[in-house]
């Protein structure tokens, strides 16, 4: 079997090495747009901030590919797929044939159409090469456009490097897709406490300067700076699939075996749209754990095993300096369009905050800052099991002294929820 994988990221490598474990003879090729072995994009902000070295971001060494007999071809961005002839074409014009093809090329940084965005003082930290450029840049004042998880992590990293840091967010609060306003406001206060300037509900209109950045103009102010970091989101790479006649929605569409609509072509990772494991709704979470699990399913199916993807789950942490927060499932805003009996449980104790969303007495999401977050896994478990909130409350009330030790997860949940 000739297996060709597009993309040398988290998902692509998982497929390649998983298939190799079970099939010693398969001919495996990874086509990479970059020139380095697999690294973890999640580590990049910490490399930027100097919390880890460059070598620590890598998940593989060049030797890993040779010992596992996997062909890793650098600098070969795939530009088209011909499903009839079963070939792919790289930007250099080379053609590679396949028996089975895996699309694992992730997503692309969304570049907002702002005047001045192509100024050399504008950086990003989506890929290693770009992050290295930013790390080598000698600036003193930075504007981060966008306050998603990547934007906040980049802001912390630059602050650690001694920059004056400003975060500009178009939406009403920071981390808008991960947290509700009450949680986000608390995190914003924490960020400001570390000396990071945060402007929400503000739109960047222009990046000023020629040859280098001199200022960022928003609808409300002009911020003098010499560095801009774009962190306005990652859009799934669907163009390659669409032009090959593969069905796409927001992402590449796949079934529970990670097969696309075209025979012998699989897709996994940030480029696909899947289902939410809990609700069955269409989902696009673009998170590392989902990329790994999808790739494991694809690999199993490629080697002929019976397998079924259970679905993706939303779980993210927000961590900067000594502030720790995490979120899972739906935000309150995401439940706004669902009919049903809704309730929000909130707890607060000094700098610690907990917010749990209930829909028809079942936990559908939660957010926590500080010590409350330490028990978040129990809430996630309750969401997966679809525990009834009333039953948890009843268990907490009725468990007799010294008895029924099996109720302890419920008791712990009860403690966490302040019952």
């Amino acid at each position: 079997m000739k297996l060709v994988i597009i993309g040398n990221g988290i998902a692509g490598n998982q497929v390649a090495f998983d298939v190799r474990k079970k099939d010693r003879d398969a001919h495996i090729t990874i086509l990479s747009a970059e020139t380095v072995p697999e690294y973890d994009p999640c580590s990049l902000p910490y490399f930027l901030g100097g919390e880890c070295g460059r070598t620590d971001v890598f998940r593989k060494t060049p030797e890993d590919y040779t010992t596992h007999n996997i062909d890793l071809v650098y600098d070969s961005r795939v530009v088209s797929i011909d499903p009839e002839a079963k070939t792919v074409t790289t930007h250099g014009g080379g053609q590679i044939s396949y028996d089975k093809l895996v699309l694992a090329h992730g997503g692309d940084l969304f570049i907002p159409p702002i005047p001045g965005i192509d100024n050399p003082g504008v950086f990003s930290c989506k890929q290693l090469a770009e992050t290295e450029k930013l790390a080598a840049h000698n600036g003193s004042s930075a504007v981060v456009i966008g306050s998603g998880a990547i934007g906040i992590e980049a802001a912390e990293a630059l602050k650690r490097k001694g920059y004056a840091v400003h975060v500009v967010e178009l939406m009403d609060w920071i981390l808008p897709s991960l947290f509700d306003e009450p949680t986000a406001r608390r995190l914003e206060t924490a960020l400001k406490g570390y000396g990071i300037h945060v402007f929400t509900g503000e739109k960047v209109l222009e990046i000023k300067g020629t040859g280098e950045v001199s200022a960022v103009v928003t609808n409300l102010r002009t911020i003098a700076c010499d560095t801009v970091v774009v962190a306005t989101g990652v859009v799934p790479g669907t163009a390659l699939a669409r032009t090959a006649g593969i069905d796409t929605g927001r992402g590449i569409q796949v079934n529970r075996q990670m097969q696309t609509s075209v025979p012998d072509i699989y897709a996994c990772g940030d480029c696909v749209e899947t289902i939410d494991a809990c609700t069955g709704e269409t989902a696009m979470f673009q998170l590392k754990h989902n990329a790994i699990e999808q790739a494991q399913v694809a690999a199993r199916h490629i080697v002929g095993e019976k397998t079924r993807y259970l679905g993706a789950y939303a779980f993210a942490r927000a961590h900067f300096f000594s502030t720790h927060a995490a979120t899972f499932g739906k935000t309150q805003r995401a439940t706004d369009c669902i009919l049903g009996d809704k309730r929000v449980i909130e707890r607060e104790d000094k700098n610690n905050y907990l917010r749990v969303m209930l829909l028809n007495n079942q936990i559908v999401g939660g957010q926590a800052i500080g010590t409350f977050a330490d028990g978040l896994g129990l809430l996630i478990g309750a969401m997966w099991r679809k525990d009834d909130f009333m039953e948890i409350a009843a268990k907490v009330r009725t468990t007799p002294r010294g008895g029924a030790v099996h109720t302890w997860p419920m008791l712990r949940l009860g403690n966490l929820l302040g019952m």
């Binding site: 580590s43 942490r317 961590h319 000594s322 720790h324 926590a368 028990g375 129990l378």
Partner: protein
């Protein structure tokens, strides 16, 4: 379910809440008599008079390995999953995703720490400390049949999520 070579078996019904296991763990790994440095967390439920030792059981499909941004959660040959302190940045993702919140924070470094089964000893120190009560025991290969292990797991974990 594939059983790994060694793992701890927890029987909370036998736990008296003495916390000697916590002291033993802290002494073994940090040379301190301070339960905050223990990988074992004995959680007390005062109203119900219950004590439950919570320890990393090194899940077969450990979600902590997948969510760690630094790839610092490492599966060892013994089966246990430990934090690589050379790269852990203390973000606590592994704590938040754990079905029982078992990784503990090292108060000195902010990094997480979980049970390594005292790999260099014949018996984990917490197990030795609990020899009388036997709330913590070590299952080696063949010591627990699959059905027995399943029953025990169902008792203590009451259906942790399937990842």
């Amino acid at each position: 379910m594939k059983l790994r070579r060694d793992h701890l078996s927890i029987d909370p019904e036998k736990c008296t809440g003495c916390r000697r296991c916590m002291i033993a763990c802290a002494m073994k790994h940090h040379n301190r008599i301070d339960p905050d440095f223990s990988c074992v967390d004995v959680i007390g439920f005062a109203a119900q008079d219950l004590d439950v030792p919570v320890i990393c059981l090194a899940c077969e499909t450990a979600p902590c390995i997948k969510v760690c941004p630094m790839n610092a959660r490492i599966r060892q040959a013994s089966g246990s999953v430990v934090t690589d302190t050379d790269v852990c940045i203390g973000c606590r993702a592994c704590v938040y995703i754990c079905p029982v919140g078992s990784p503990r924070i090292n108060p000195a470094t902010g990094q997480t720490m979980t049970c390594d089964l005292c790999a260099d000893e014949t018996e984990p120190w917490c197990v030795a400390a609990c020899r009388q009560e036997r709330a913590l025991t070590l299952c080696t290969d063949g010591a627990a049949s699959k059905p027995a292990a399943r029953r025990a797991a169902a008792r203590t974990l009451a259906g942790s999520p399937r990842y």
